[in-house]
């Protein structure tokens, strides 16, 4: 398992290839989050961020048969189209890998201590948390699986 909170950019392709493993991996699901529309600064709580993401990744590995997980989250100054976050899940089969990847993203958005500040012309404003993000994380609680939309 690799968890990294870093200022620098990452190479998603290289990270995916690293999880290809020795022949037991049948599926790798990945997600890349990008900065949309406006430049932003991402603040985080150093130390706690890594702990929370590690907890979320372990929780995913308990729920689904996951072989390996990589999560990279950036902080600092970011421009539109920059990569913010990468989640890669390697498993035996695609269903488990897809589910675990989405679970990690949904929990990361509501649990990991990051805060976005958007820089628009002449002003800078903190992004407000969305109720829809809480709902996305909570839907995993009842059944442990994603309910149908």
């Amino acid at each position: 398992m690799k968890i990294s909170v870093q200022r620098d950019d990452f190479d998603a392709g290289a990270e995916i290839r690293k999880l290809a493993g020795d022949g037991s991996v049948g599926a790798i699901a990945s997600f890349v989050g990008l900065v949309r529309d406006v430049p932003m600064t991402l603040e985080h709580y150093a130390g706690m961020t890594e702990r929370e993401i590690t907890k979320i990744a372990h929780e995913a590995a308990k729920r689904w048969s996951v072989i390996d997980v990589t999560v990279i989250h950036r902080f600092g100054e970011l421009q539109p189209a920059d990569q913010i976050v990468l989640v890669v899940v390697a498993g035996s089969h695609r269903g488990e890998a897809f589910a675990a990847c989405e679970f990690i993203m949904d929990y990361l958005k509501t649990r990991a201590p990051f805060w976005k500040k958007e820089h628009r012309a002449g002003s800078a404003e903190w992004v407000e948390a969305k109720a829809s993000d809480d709902a996305a994380a909570e839907r995993w609680i009842a059944t442990g699986k994603k309910p149908k939309a």
Partner: protein, 85 residues
């Protein structure tokens, strides 16, 4: 009882500081009581920790409910709801 306070994001800006060491009276033994204690400072603290403010808390880097206990030497962080990902 000495604890280390940390503030993040909009809360840090509102208060004009990223944290401090405080010596708390012994009756301030939970996150909720600490929040009340800070609110009573008034000014920016009154606003930041007032009734309707959405403030989350972590003790020793674990997210906790308002009822969580605080002990000497703890690192207690306050911050707005998170917006990463």
């Amino acid at each position: 009882m000495k604890v280390r306070l940390l503030f993040f994001a909009s809360l840090r800006e509102q208060l004009g500081t990223s944290g401090e060491e405080v010596d708390l009276p012994s009756e301030v033994a939970t996150v909720a009581a600490l929040r009340e204690h800070l609110m009573q400072r008034g000014g920016a603290y009154g606003k930041a920790f007032g009734g309707k403010a959405l403030v989350r808390a972590a003790v020793n880097q674990d997210m906790v409910p308002q009822s969580a206990p605080i002990r000497a030497g703890d690192e207690v962080a306050f911050f707005p709801p998170v917006t990463g990902g």
